[in-house]
Amino acid sequence: MSNALTTFRLPAPPDCVWPGDEATGVPPYLVSDEVATALKVALATGRPLLISGPPGSGKTTLAKATAHAQGWGYLKHTLTSRSRLEDLTAEIDQLQRLHDAQVTAAGGATELMPEWAYLKPGLLWWGFDAHSAPLKGRELAEIESLKSFRPPSRPKTLREAGAGVVILLDEIDKAEPDLPNDLLEPLDQRAFSLPDGTEIQAPKTLALLVIITTNGERDLPPAFLRRCLHLELRRPEEEELQRIAHFHFRDRRSPEHAAVFAAVAKQFDEVEAETKGAGRRPPGTSEYLDAVRACLELGITPDSDTWRQVEQATLRKQPRADRGI
């Protein structure tokens, strides 16, 4: 069994919850059997884990919670239509290079450095090899000989002594249709090449978990899908929602609060059924938690007069067909 698997900690039953950490903004995460299996299989096979599911179902939070629970580094990049592979691996800062060249020519204090010194390490570089990224793939002696060298800033969520890294590539369905195919090689090989041909390779001892999320807004290339493990996060049931609220609002454990959790979960189910029937997007777990939080902070329950406004703002978010609002 690989090292990552032997040290990988899953939450203990019966709760099966990673408690999270309020100080660092990591919420509690209820780890279902499906999630636990998918994480273990991803570590066993070294394949990226593609997570799909409705918005607000905890796809992004899972990566953060996993990194926190394991004491690993966490690197996140939200993909957009402008994302390119070079943003994730390495890119030469041509504008800085040009600036330095002009200042040098004008007799300024800055010196023009070799091209490699202008590399900007991307998220995959930091994730695969956090030691070579600040040195831009060179030896320390080479760096020290450059007086104008500016070391890149290390991502704050990357731990110094972490045994592993969780890399989250969020919302891949927003990226250009070709980007998933561009990612195949770096993710398969845990390596990529710099513009000068230097290869950046993740050490075999590094526990690396690559999580990719999609909202399913568009299909991903078949070749990409065939190389990813798949986990579909389903919408939690009423009781599961209450459990999630229970762990999210641990400081409010009273029968009154439990009644609010249950009542909002019931309303959530009704709204979900209604929106599904109307062909609209049903609310997600995060929206349920928003509704609960609003109730707790405002001191109301779904029986209150103001509940309809809270429901509209947190769960429905779309005009009610029957009321025309």
Partner: protein, 330 residues
Amino acid sequence: MASRRSEIGLGDLVQTLVKLPTGDQAELDRMARCLRFEAGALAVATPDYRPTLRPRPSPEPLPSPATNPAMPSAPEPPIPLPDEILRIDIAKLPGTWDAESIPILPPEIACRAPLELDAPRPPPVPRWPLFPPRTARGLLGAAVMRPAADGDPDLARLIQAIILKRPVRILPRLPRPSARSGCQLLLDFSDALAPWWEDLRALIGQFHALLGEAACPVYEFTGDPRDALHWTEAAGEEAWRAVPNQPLVLVTDFGLIRIPGGEPRPSLAIWCRFAEHCRRKGVPVVAITPLRRERCPHALGQAMALVHWNPTTRAADIKRLIDRQGRYPA
């Protein structure tokens, strides 16, 4: 760098089972699903399992049942059938024709095989899309991608600026194809195109798979394309309007296919006005048509990229029509 890993297969399955040994069937099902195998592909224990790779050893002589208590008992003898055969009465039902009185059918009907209402229907013939799934993604992508100025640095412009001693405040970049602007789909659902209706629906699915529904609204028309409508539950009917710089994919025969008694088809003048309208609004038009390019009006071929809706069409054909700078036929 080593070659790319292969797709997920049995190797991954074996690796998983070796590293994560489990005897729980539910856990095995979850593992199988995660690896995109069917749930139930893995079984905890199969009693009839036999290794297929190793040669089977020659069977040893079986011990007699008396010496082997684990052997199953002998099967019970079959139930004896009664000697007496049940009596069968065959009688003519009232109202049936006698063999002699059956009317003689006309020869053109008599020679036909009788209609078998209860006969099993043959399975439907699978439809093969006009743009095959293997090539559709690249092909449709080539049709809707527009150049976006966020590619590699444009060294030529950069060097020019340095030579002329112009300050470089924004790094000039080369264009790269991008699908971020989405596209509008304008589909001709007139009666004359009825044989292609299923293909039109398949094409909508292919575009939505590539760009997503939100980035690819579908408008339908039967006559003048400028009267095309898009229907949504929230907004109801919405008339088409040109969006500058957003590609427009038009699927039509340009009114060239006529059917007897069919609805009036738009004339060439209408299509030319439409093309001119799009040109003025800055809308690049790609027309996908079941007709060969040679059959389409020459005037339209100059105003829009005409793509033959045919399995032999390739992405390269479309890229040739829309050159690398994103220029459409003028």
